[in-house]
């Protein structure tokens, strides 16, 4: 029973990721998991906040009638109202429950919005390096991904973005704090982006910013995430509670549609419909009830910040060229040799697992996910040094 031709092709494209993953697994078996430094996965070891665990028990024990039944495809009204209130406060805009749609994580939310927006051949701008799944999300719904490189410091290159805008441009995906670089876009550069898109709006073309805010609470040293709703009218944000509340396996997040979008109601209706026909139906019931009251909470960010500091110092000490991340839990150093895949294999020989930059559309770099035990990060210090030493002969 042959599988879809398209899927076969896409899977072949990404087969090297699997190969690397399998090599890593082999190493773990050979040397023991404790002797392998695995920075390859964005699956945080952090547990959900204690208050959230207690609330979950309370909900289950409350035994409310019908609590596991279907609800409206957009989610529970009271939960959406709680989230709308949070947005009224943070964005200062008249959000109501109707602007919020509960989704199966942000991956589900982005798919729902793209299906609702894209006609065949419509283009979506993605800033490179990027989370590769964005490509699949866009292609699922007949769209075309237009990649635009960011600057050396991974910030927005407004000129380049301007140069790829076309009549077919329907949206731009903005992911900040950013995977894989940990960069947080500044208010100034987002305003420049808004100005660029507003020029198009004057000519009658509506381009949406789809903001993937999966890491929005993971910010360091007092960094403030600019509020895109205040900066640009046609904004849709996608939130996940995978990272801030450490619930990735439970698949819970939401879409927030700006009250400033003209005819936003039709987009919201389409998103509710798409949520249904893509097979999500609704976000998991029990998790919806749980997250409504936790909009202002998060796991311990200082814990992540400490890990970031140690990771960054190890890399700098070993001589890597790296941009210090202000958010998320990734760091994206330059590979000391141009061939990042080769370098990542060298790291593997030294028991360090990472992902090559080519996996994010930017060869010559590699990604480390430091959402792991602090102790493991500390212990990896001499290994990074050794890797760099080992390359000296080659250069």
């Amino acid at each position: 029973m042959p599988i879809s031709k398209n899927i076969s092709r896409l899977m072949k494209d990404s087969s090297w990721i699997r190969a690397m993953f399998e090599e890593g697994e082999k190493l773990k078996k050979q040397y023991g998991t404790e002797n392998i430094f695995d920075f390859s996965l964005g699956n945080p070891i952090t547990e959900p906040p204690q208050a959230l665990r207690e609330e979950l028990i309370r909900i289950v024990c409350s035994d409310t009638k019908g609590m596991h039944r279907y609800m409206s495809n957009s989610g529970y009204e009271d939960v959406r109202e709680e989230i709308a209130a949070y947005h009224r406060e943070t964005a200062g805009l008249p959000f109501t429950k109707d602007h919020i749609i509960m989704t199966v994580g942000s991956a589900g939310g982005i798919n729902v919005i793209l299906k609702s927006l894209l006609d065949p051949g419509d283009e979506v701008i993605v800033l490179c390096p990027y989370f590769v799944e964005f490509r699949f999300y866009i292609e699922n719904h007949g769209g075309i991904m237009r990649l635009v490189d960011t600057k050396e410091d991974f910030h927005l290159d407004i000129e380049k973005i301007g140069s790829v805008l076309s009549k077919k441009t329907k949206a731009i995906i903005v992911n900040s704090p950013h995977n894989p670089t940990g960069v947080v876009y500044s208010e100034a550069e987002l305003k420049d982006l808004a100005a660029l898109l507003n020029e198009r709006a004057l000519k009658g073309q509506k381009i949406h910013i789809i903001a993937d805010e999966a890491y929005k609470k993971i910010l360091y040293n007092g960094t403030v995430l600019p509020n895109l709703f205040q900066i640009y009218d046609n904004t849709i944000t996608i939130t996940s509670h995978s990272k801030d509340l450490a619930l990735p396996g439970e698949r819970i997040g939401y879409i927030a549609v700006s009250p400033r979008i003209k005819n936003g109601r039709s987009l919201i209706d389409a998103a509710i419909f798409s949520n249904r026909i893509l097979g999500f139906i609704n976000a998991p019931a029990i998790m919806q009830r749980l997250v409504g009251g936790f909009q202002k909470n998060s796991v311990d960010i200082l814990d992540y910040q400490k890990k970031r500091d140690v990771m960054y110092s190890i890399l700098v000490e070993a001589g890597f060229d790296v941009v210090k991340p202000l958010g998320a839990f990734y760091i994206f150093p330059k590979s000391p040799i141009p061939d990042d895949v080769k370098f990542v294999r060298t790291l593997q020989q030294h028991h360090i697992l990472t992902v090559p930059g080519v996996g994010f559309g930017r060869p010559g770099y590699f990604r480390l996910a430091y959402c792991v035990e602090l102790d493991m990060i500390e212990r990896s210090r001499p290994y990074f040094k050794k890797v760099v030493e080992s390359l000296k002969g080659e250069r």
Binding site: M1, N43, Y70, G109, V112, G249, D269
Partner: protein, 393 residues
């Protein structure tokens, strides 16, 4: 216009369902919930088994580290093993954890499966009347739906299926027990279908049966549910725990891949890819662990059977023509007038009884009654059905 044209068109197609739904809500507001008899929704009013609720509390009071984290896209291995063990027992086929893929309900399971198997333009045969969402699921992934009418008793019409098969046919999508008819396809029917598909195999057509098993535990015992895995080789069944454990809002189910499918490894890789690409990523973690312990459980079938009997007898006594359902919680009687939309409106306006017109399932001239409601609602509607029966018969 902001919204994608395809979505706009699909929404318009279903717009009348929404209007009826809204009229129903308005009616409840005007006359009070207790005076409206709503048989329009397949959202059961029953609660999960008490033991399930206790298992949830236990799981949360004794947390396992990492219990809310990502796991492999196909689900926890121990959960898949407990599903496989259940499948081995009921199907007498050698399922392993690698033949089980945990999904976000059967809607989620069908979508990732269709995305994994359909190339652009591939055809999927669906017997009609049918659950209309199937059309959107198929179209979302570049497929083409081929509707084939069933016989008058809602059993498969083999000649019509044979006529519909082309080089592009990739699958036939069966739903048994069926929504909206409550029919179970008989073993004999399925064997005929299997031999038809094996004959087609000889001409190079590899057609699989995708079985939507959402109602597989809601079987009333009049007719047993045939063991499809013993009847045909290329079978992929998609199951939901929405109905049997009454947890539809939690979105958990699984895909069972027949061990007879040789390329099952590549199919699983494709499913993993599709569930990431479509944004499901994995079935919700907490409820995976829960359902693993309830594979042999089910809500009380006797209660449903009793509701079916009262509802069926009510309709027959009132003069309606109706095939007696042997599973699920739906009845699909013939409308007394050809224009069932008009009849449904009359029923709504005169008797405050809400049902869904057959065209919502691709079959005009019929209407669907969902009896997954409290018994007192069914009993309360008896007189109304009688009066409307007198009017037409």
């Amino acid at each position: 216009m902001i919204v994608a044209k395809k979505v706009m068109k699909q929404m318009e197609e279903t717009g009348w369902i929404r209007r009826m739904f809204e009229e129903g809500i308005a009616m409840k507001k005007t006359y009070g919930d207790e005076n409206v008899y709503d048989f329009s929704l397949g959202n059961p009013d029953i609660e999960p088994p008490d033991t399930l609720r206790q298992a949830l509390i236990d799981a949360l009071e004794h947390p396992v580290p990492g219990m809310h984290r990502y796991m492999p896209n196909n689900g926890y291995e121990e959960v898949r093993e407990s599903v496989a063990s259940y499948l081995r027992e009921i199907h007498k086929v050698n399922f392993t954890p690698n033949h089980v893929y945990m999904s976000a309900g059967s809607a989620g399971g069908l979508n990732i499966l269709l995305k994994s198997i359909l190339s652009k333009g591939d055809e999927v045969i669906v017997p009609r009347p049918y659950f209309m969402e199937f059309k959107y699921y198929i179209e979302s992934h570049g497929g083409v739906i081929k509707l084939v009418d069933t016989q008058d008793n809602f059993q498969l019409d083999m000649d019509k299926i044979e006529e519909a098969i082309t080089k592009k046919t990739k699958a036939i999508l069966l739903n048994s027990p069926n929504n909206p008819t409550g029919t179970i396809y008989s073993e004999e029917t399925l064997r005929e279908l299997a031999s038809l598909l094996y004959r087609e195999r000889k001409t190079g057509k590899k057609i699989c049966i995708v079985s939507d098993d959402a109602y597989k535990k809601l079987v009333y015992g009049d007719v047993p549910l045939p063991n499809i895995f013993q009847i045909y080789d290329l079978v992929i069944a998609v199951t939901s725990h929405s109905k049997d454990l009454a947890i539809p809002g939690e979105r958990v189910g699984y895909i069972a891949i027949s061990p007879s499918i040789e390329e099952s490894d590549s199919l699983i890789s494709a499913l993993m890819f599709s569930s990431r690409a479509l944004g499901f990523v994995n079935a919700p973690a907490l409820f995976q662990r829960i359902v693993a312990r309830f594979q042999n459980s089910s809500v009380n079938i006797d209660e449903y059977r009793e509701k079916r009997d009262v509802m069926y007898n009510t309709l027959i006594d009132a003069g309606f023509e109706c095939v007696k359902p042997t599973g699920a919680f739906y009845l699909f009687p013939k409308s007394p007038v050809p224009d069932e939309l008009q009849f449904v409106r009359t029923l709504q306006n005169e008797e405050h009884i809400l049902v869904v017109p057959g065209r919502g399932f691709g079959k005009e001239g019929y209407f669907r009654v969902a009896y997954c409601v409290p018994m007192k609602k069914i009993v309360g509607a008896i007189e109304g059905f009688k009066r409307i029966g007198k009017k037409y018969y």
